[in-house]
Symmetry: C2
Subunit: 421 residues, 2 copies
């Protein structure tokens, strides 16, 4: 069994590597045409895609998949159309590949600079959302990479149908169809083989729940760009504007609950204690359960604040629950974040220049904000056009990962016959 998975992956890997060679030098116009063709094919084949999805939904029904998972798995006309639109949007983005940066003369007379280049072969491992097949493929192809996709087994028919559309577009547009390959099997050994294929695959991006990502990161031989927890903080400083603090806290918690950039813990400076009751009231009005430290419970006397335990500071609720802690000063807030944050996104609300500057400098998270909602930590909001995920790693790329995160840089040197002295 193990050998079989490895053999299968060697074939896929070899094909991907060959396709990557062509993708690396593919003209921007050709890549864009393929993406536009893919959108057209997906719209044309909508019936087939929905029929394939119906098979997956039927199987999900039989196996008793829970409602949330079934909703992620479900495709309908609007969702298929959104996939096609997503590909058109990626086609419209600027191509990062080939961009030359900081070309400058050196004392020796050579010119030295960077040229942006694709990473090569990207493996994407994801769960039940079939739209990831189109989104991830679109980003990988636009950035000049070949992709090997491994979706959840419950979405196999949907993924197969979508991948077929993309591969059709590759061929029609004049690029190798193996620039996109689906691991067309539900055999779990293949995931293991994929993440060990460092001879063929340059990076693995797992998209999905924490347990999937943790497992991939722990076992992979191929480098992984990963996104673990999003335990995000809002810190209301002594010098916060009251209305702004309320708005940002409410937005960061309640705009959407199940997202990684939602606030999970609110920190309030003791000199801003007067803001606690109105903010807690606003949260309760939105149906949020509030868990506070003793001082917060005192400041919100008469309101339903449950006692927070240490475990609360470590928890990514992804639901209408909020933990709130009062801190003595700026240092304690930064310390709390350093101890409990997952280094995803934190924001300070303050009118104080020094506090804001220090927060930007001292907090070591992938996004650090001043007077803005944590919900802005997002590839679209940052202007990346699209994102393949949010990295909580430190190497290569941090925070929202767009097309540029799927590329690397090589050095280029232009000379006129220079030699080393």
């Amino acid at each position: 069994m193990k050998t079989d998975a490895k053999t299968v992956m060697n074939v896929l890997g070899g094909q991907a590597k060959a396709a990557a060679k062509a993708m690396r030098v593919a003209d921007t116009g050709v890549k864009n045409r393929v993406l536009q063709l893919a959108a057209a094919v997906i719209r044309r084949e909508m019936k087939e895609i929905l029929a394939a999805n119906a098979m997956d939904m039927q199987a999900a029904e039989k196996s008793g998949l829970d409602a949330a998972l079934k909703d992620r798995l479900l495709l309908n006309g609007d969702r298929v159309d959104a996939m096609a639109e997503g590909l058109e949007q990626i086609a419209a983005l600027p191509d990062p590949v080939g961009a030359i940066d900081q070309l400058r003369y050196r004392p020796s007379g050579i010119q030295v600079g960077h040229m942006r280049v694709p990473l090569g072969v990207i493996g994407i491992i994801y769960e039940s959302r079939p739209n990831v097949t189109a989104d991830a493929a679109g980003l990988c192809l636009k950035s000049g990479n070949a992709a090997i996709l491994r979706g959840g087994s419950e979405a196999i028919h949907s993924n197969r149908a979508i991948a077929a559309c993309l591969r059709r577009a590759l061929v029609d547009g004049g690029l190798p169809q193996n620039a996109l390959q689906l691991v067309d099997s539900t055999d779990r050994e293949l995931v293991g083989a994929l993440i060990m294929s460092d001879a063929y695959v340059d990076v693995i991006i797992p998209r999905g729940g924490k347990s999937l990502i943790a497992r991939v990161a722990a076992e992979a031989r191929v480098p992984v760009i990963k996104h673990l927890d999003g335990i995000c903080h809002v810190y209301i400083d002594a010098a916060a504007d009251a209305e702004m603090a309320l708005n940002i806290a409410v937005n960061a918690k309640t705009h959407r609950y199940g997202v990684c950039n939602a606030m999970e813990t609110l920190l309030v400076h003791q000199d801003a204690a007067a803001l606690v009751a109105p903010i807690v009231q606003a949260m309760l009005d939105k149906g949020v359960e509030v868990r506070g430290c003793e001082r917060i419970r005192a400041a919100a006397e008469g309101l339903d604040v449950k006692p927070a335990s240490d475990q609360d500071w470590r928890t990514e609720y992804l639901s209408p629950i909020l933990s709130v802690r009062m801190v003595d000063d700026f240092e304690q807030a930064v310390d709390h974040i350093a101890t409990f944050s997952s280094a995803h996104t934190e924001t300070i609300v303050t009118e104080n220049y020094e506090a804001g500057q220090r927060f930007l400098r001292e907090v070591d998270s992938s996004s650090v904000m001043w007077n803005a909602s944590t919900r802005f930590a997002d590839g679209f909001e940052y202007g990346l056009g699209a994102e393949i995920g949010i990295s909580t790693d430190r190497l290569h790329v941090r925070g929202p990962v767009g097309l540029e995160g799927l590329t690397s840089q090589k050095w280029i040197v232009l000379g006129s016959g220079q030699v080393r002295q």
Copy 2:
């Protein structure tokens, strides 16, 4: 034994992480002062350092270390002074940390940009050169990181003496001494424990021979920035200037033999066959053994060209041996490079604009050059000021790694109360 190594490393790791927190926000001036102090302490303690080195040399003598290794291990007044000077040069380099880049307004009204930040804790694993202790520490500290150094056991006394100077300077300059820690033991299990310490160490940089690097890369749980082979090519195109081609080929091969950016294989377009004999003659005059394909041997008739085997194309000689192959055309040259190169550095010699542009675009190596010697692939020549190594990886950093390669970027967001709609 295994548990012991892990325990030791957990202590070192915890101390490094605590020190990294202070290093992350240390002012540029403070870091520079520490580096200058370190240079002064090293000069002041020269006698002690040389005495420690003498102990290592004595042990090396006893254990029968070979001459090349002994030369690497040896310190003298000049070499110790060069270490101190190196630290002063690093102090004079611009600080990459805190630099804010591409801050721009988004439609929502927030400003979004990047801030450059240290990586955190860097593990350096190296062999017998004691000067790496000072060089690597200097680069890690300047870039705001904490370092854990593990040098070769044959250099333990020298490394201990040098590290003591640096730690002294850290304390005197007002930074935590644990920002630099030496794994003060020759126990090999500790290397294993270091490369598995992903809870404490953010990146490992192995410096040394291929087998060390391959072993670290294969076993590490911590991400590795590695440098494997340097099988570098010079391709003499049909439209090459004859004199330039000769100069670049001779410089790339003979300027220094034992370095990773030396040429190992020369490719010559068949229309440039007339250049083969003079270049071979020049190589032979320099004492280089030349191994050629059949067509090269014919083109250099009467000269001593040994037959090249397939194995030659795959070999990093690091010595006065050169393999030479004639190619039919540009495509065959690029194909040869794609097949046999270690993706370190390649150069094309041509006066033809299209060939040069295509070479820059199509060759996928960490440095790609046009009309310049491969020997320029170097941090100093590129203007990095200093380098901690040359990466042949694709993620995070490629080619010469300077201070910036030891940093990452976080996103910063400046708002005035914006929330997501």
